[in-house]
């Protein structure tokens, strides 16, 4: 039952271009496909129950024409794009959709899905608290438990400790392999372009975990052995921000004299920096998703409930993982990108830029409306930013 004749990077590109191809095949073979929005629904539970997790993205090349029926243009265009595709029947292969209260807009979509998009018989909203202290983790564990009980109905089977452990190990294996993939961009020049990397990351979010893992193994070997490597460039950049699932931005940046060598985005590293820790129970999942994943949607402070003003300590506790990436990947500039109306990331930008200033790392902030066309005006600014670094 080969998925395709393609292998490695070319298979990743094929899946990137036609994300639902493989899960449609699996569905014909009797598998149930569960779409999830944002990276907070624990995919380990979905995998453990024999279901196939499929991350839902919008489509930056598809004009939003249907979504205005169920939302207004002040809603973030990423979410509107998802709604738009849903209303156009492009997610008709999903047996269920899991949303999470990662931000208000992200949570709202699940009700729209239940009411306006009738294709998915199963919808679930996972409540995710917005702070990362111990009582919040306990609360989140309870919410994961509700999700578990609900999705057991869809799967028609019960989650056992053993199944969950196995799924956690497979997903941890994927995290380890993704970190190895990112290590390939530590050399100068990097062994892999950022657009190639994104194609792989999007492909992983469209495949069962075991297929994703063997794809990663193939790709790591292929890239290590291939003769043609990206050419040297003078600037090494980190890209930060919310969902970016299209190679357009990376192509644009790399058309200037710069490589993107690492990222802190929710399609890139965010879900893969840390492993789920043993014992692989629901509490470990709550800890992993709420505390170990660093996304501006979770409010983080150096000391929970601390009200004394210690700005520098707070900044460092929020962003020192970015400092580590800057050092480890030899980064000399940061591109902060955000989709329009993303208030969670918008609030973070001035603080993060200030933190980067204190590190002596130049940065630029760019905003787009989640469409390929909106990339063009950004080009001059990115090029000029790269020129200032040269």
């Amino acid at each position: 039952m080969a998925i395709a004749t393609n292998k490695g990077l070319s298979l990743a590109r094929e899946i990137y271009a036609d994300r639902s191809k493989r899960v449609r095949e699996l569905r014909r073979d009797g598998k149930k496909i569960v779409g999830y929005i944002c990276l907070y629904p624990p995919v380990e539970i979905i995998t453990a129950l024999g279901l196939v997790p499929f991350r839902i993205f919008g489509d930056m090349s598809e004009p939003i024409t249907a979504a205005d029926r169920v939302s207004t243009t002040m809603v973030c265009p990423f979410v509107r794009s998802i709604l738009d595709l849903g209303l156009k029947g492009k997610f008709d292969f999903l047996d269920g959709v899991v949303g999470a209260h990662t931000c208000d807009i992200g949570a709202g979509i699940i009700l729209q899905w239940r009411d306006a998009i009738k294709d998915a018989p199963f919808t679930h909203l996972l409540d995710v608290p917005h702070t990362d202290h111990a009582p919040a983790v306990d609360y989140f564990e309870g919410q994961i438990n509700s999700f578990k009980r609900h999705i057991e109905e869809l799967a028609g089977e019960k989650l056992t400790d053993d199944k969950l452990k196995k799924a956690c190990e497979m997903h941890n294996e994927q995290r380890k392999l993704v970190r190895q993939l990112y290590d390939l961009r530590k050399p100068d020049p990097p062994l892999l372009s950022s657009a190639e990397n994104l194609e792989v990351m999007v492909a992983l979010s469209s495949l069962p975990v075991e297929e994703g893992n063997s794809l990663l193994e193939d790709i790591i070997q292929e890239v290590t052995e291939r003769k043609v490597k990206p050419s040297p460039k003078k600037v090494r950049l980190l890209v930060w921000g919310p969902v970016f699932d299209n190679t357009a931005l990376y192509d644009l940046i790399e058309s200037a004299d710069a490589h993107v060598v690492v990222d802190d985005t929710c399609v890139g590293t965010r879900a893969f920096w840390a492993d789920v820790k043993p014992p692989y129970n629901l509490h470990a999942l709550a800890q992993h998703y709420l505390v170990d994943i660093k996304c501006p949607r979770t409010y983080r402070q150096a000391e929970p409930f601390e009200t004394r003003r210690d700005y520098d300590k707070d900044l460092d506790s929020r962003f020192n993982y970015i400092k580590k990436a800057i050092v480890d990947w030899g980064v000399n500039g940061v591109v902060l990108q955000s989709v329009k109306y993303c208030d969670t990331h918008g609030y973070e930008v001035p603080n993060l830029r200030h933190y980067l200033d204190t590190l002596g790392i130049p940065s630029i902030y760019i905003e787009h409306d989640y469409s390929e066309r909106s990339m063009a005006p950004i080009k001059t600014r990115v090029e000029a930013f790269v020129e200032t670094l040269g």
Partner: protein
């Protein structure tokens, strides 16, 4: 090598959204002359014409041009350029050539506004307005059209105002509606114009303040030719601004000076001849094709 190099000239071409400009400098970086013309729809043809015009004006032949840098919105459409550099870097270089101490430059062009922070003649930080043309030359054109005025008479009329009308909307279309509303209320024309300038100044100064405005400040771009606009920027900013004698050419001047720097880098690498030859052939070939 030095003797040859001292006889060479360098060109910067700035294909802006509205106007195209070109300048030639000598081996010392001193400007021989410049030309300015409308961009129009045919960028490539325009690039060629501007190049021919500036050579004629400066009495320099193409063979003497060692290096060409294109910049501006249409920089990709200058097929004979040796290199493309963004207008942000070029403006900074051009402004610094005219005002060596400059720390902040504000440039308002036909469809964008930019703020440049400059240190030791080099661009260190910048901001541009986003996709929308509010607060740019286009905004002024729409206002002029609405009021039935020529662009070049607006500045003079606005200087007669003591009590500028408040224009709250920065969206070009909504501001146009506000202008019409002020007209129907019988507000004097100078006050409306002064209000338009203050609205644009407020928007660009807000952009500038994100980067912390440090004096000396230089104001460039087509909009800087407007005396009313200069006054408004100074009022909103709370400090004096300098305007070059020809505020349109800082981009192409900067590009020409960068072309000179780049060419000398090539000379030091021993690649100077090669670059010159490629440039001539590409240019002639292109000129023949477009004729």
């Amino acid at each position: 090598m030095d003797i040859i190099a001292s006889k060479l000239f360098f060109t910067g071409i700035d294909i802006g959204s509205t106007m195209s400009k070109a300048a030639v400098v000598d081996a010392e970086g001193v400007m021989l002359g410049y030309v300015i013309g409308p961009t129009g729809a045919e960028h490539r043809r325009r690039a060629n014409m501007v190049m021919e015009d500036v050579l004629a004006k400066c009495g320099v032949s193409l063979d003497e041009i060692a290096y060409i840098i294109s910049t501006g919105y249409g920089r990709v459409n200058v097929p004979f350029a040796d290199k493309q550099v963004t207008e942000l870097t070029c403006h900074a270089r051009g402004v610094a050539a005219l005002f060596p101490d400059v720390r902040t430059a504000i440039d308002i062009g036909g469809q964008d506004a930019k703020v440049l922070k400059i240190k030791n003649g080099k661009l260190v930080d910048f901001l541009t307005n986003d996709k929308c043309a509010a607060g740019t030359g286009r905004f002024l054109e729409v206002a002029a059209e609405t009021l039935g005025l020529e662009l070049n008479e607006m500045g003079r009329i606005s200087l007669q105002s003591d009590t500028p009308v408040k224009i709250n909307s920065l969206c070009t279309i909504f501001a146009q509606q506000e202008i019409i509303a002020s007209l129907s209320e019988g507000k004097p024309l100078p006050d409306i114009l002064a209000g338009v300038y203050i609205a644009i100044a407020t928007r660009v100064v807000k952009l500038a303040r994100q980067l912390k405005v440090e004096p000396p400040v230089v104001f460039t771009g087509g909009v800087a030719k407007n005396g009313g606009m200069v006054k408004a920027i100074e009022a909103v900013l709370g400090m004096p601004v300098s305007v070059p004698p020809e505020p349109l050419i800082t981009g192409c001047l900067g590009a020409a000076i960068l072309a000179r720097d780049e060419a000398f880098k090539l000379i030091n690498r021993g690649e100077y001849k090669l670059q010159k030859k490629q440039l001539s052939e590409a240019y002639i070939e292109f000129t023949e094709k477009t004729r």
